[in-house]
Amino acid sequence: MNVDKLIESISNKSDRIGRKVNLMEVCGTHTMAAFRSGIRTRLPQQVRLLSGPGCPVCVTSDRYIDHAIELAMTENRIITTFGDMMRVPGSRGSLSLAKARGKDIRVIYSPQQALVAARKNPGREVVFLGVGFETTTPLVAWTIQNAFSQKIPNYSVLCAHKTIMPAMRALCDSDDVRVDGFLCPGHVSVITGAEIYQPLCREYHAPCVIAGFEPEDILLSIDMLLNQIISGEASVEIQYTRSVTTEGNKLAQDCVNDVFEPCDVPWRGMGVIPSSGLSVRSSYKGYDAELKFPDIRVNEVKRDTGCRCGDVLRAVITPSECGLFKKECTPDNPIGPCMVSSEGTCAAYYRYSRIDE
């Protein structure tokens, strides 16, 4: 179905529902795709898209950034990272600033490149900054398995991997915002499979549709969510059938389960969420940068900047309700991570939103 017909269908269904519905796109890639394509501006006013906590860079704590920078301070270490992390401010600056001061911090495209760097630099320690959800975690797990099997001792991961379901559950438990349905993350679901969202339907009666990333995919997913709301049902449906299956990618799941185990971790704006993080299992402890370099100790430093990224990540406010947005906080001078990341909600609003949003 083409975009115009989908918009018409959504408008008709919105009229039938006759009230405002809040649909949350959990994934930062969906947030950016919805803004970039302009479909948000074509939706009826009663259908509201909320941006959730699915940008991994945005939910990573200041302490983690400080820890990464502290690791970079030693001459013998090479820090490798995805580019999104570079400009995220910690309490003592950013990785970008540390690199400008001469520290060896390298932006890489794939975690495998970090392993290659370790092989090429046997006299130096290579640390990869392991940030990301289920889509990315198997790749990092693979590097650890291979470092182990190929006996590459100078490689490790500073792990801040998270899983999305505990955060979605925490949002449902919260009184802050009412979510009428979830646009579930497409590429996370490629790995996990569709079944993981069943508790949201059973326990919270929340409709779930796993969406693809083309404008037509997102609109069709919204249409499917409205169908569920009209019928009073709550089930898990897959719109993104060309990539997502019920059971997910077993090879990737096995790799993750071999290397990582669940742990409690803090999320920016959401506090500590039980079993929402992943830490390196003791069988691979030599590849856990936190254990490997115990001399590096970093405490959480509370910064009073007025940044409300935490509220944005819980969809309690939109970026324009933050006093810093487009004033002190801009892409050139980001105060919080949601303005830095290419998938951050504040960055998306800054680039694409209408004045009244």
């Binding site: 083409n2 975009v3 115009d4 994934c27 930062g28 890639t29 699915g54 940008c55 991994p56 860079v57 995805f82 999104d84 495209y109 794939s110 975690p111 495998q112 490149q113 940030v131 990301g132 959800f133 889509t135 990315t136 198997p138 790749l139 693979w142 993350p185 497409g186 590429h187 996370v188 490629v190 790995i191 083309e214 404008p215 037509e216 995919d217 059938t241 060309r242 990539s243 990618n249 090879l251 990737a252 790799c255 990341s341 998938e343």
Partner: protein
């Protein structure tokens, strides 16, 4: 960060986990260790240098139709 794009396998190395893929005319290396039985000619979903899923010919056809409709509507 969870961006992934469809690409086509054009060759496989002997180790069976490294492939060369065609990404819109650009050739690059990809790790295919996370998918079952990769074959030359398969379309795969590539995320951060790793294949995370295989697409069937129907999936590729559906995707091409979506892209075609998008292109037509923007003309």
């Amino acid at each position: 960060m969870c961006l992934a794009v469809p690409v086509k396998i054009v060759s496989l190395s002997k180790d069976r986990y490294t492939a060369v893929v065609d990404a819109g005319g650009v050739r690059r290396e990809a790790n295919v260790a996370m998918i079952e039985e990769p074959q030359v000619g398969d379309y795969i979903l590539l995320h951060a240098g790793f294949a995370i899923q295989k697409w069937s010919t129907d999936d590729v056809k559906e995707y091409n139709e979506i892209i075609q409709r998008r292109e037509n509507s923007s003309e």
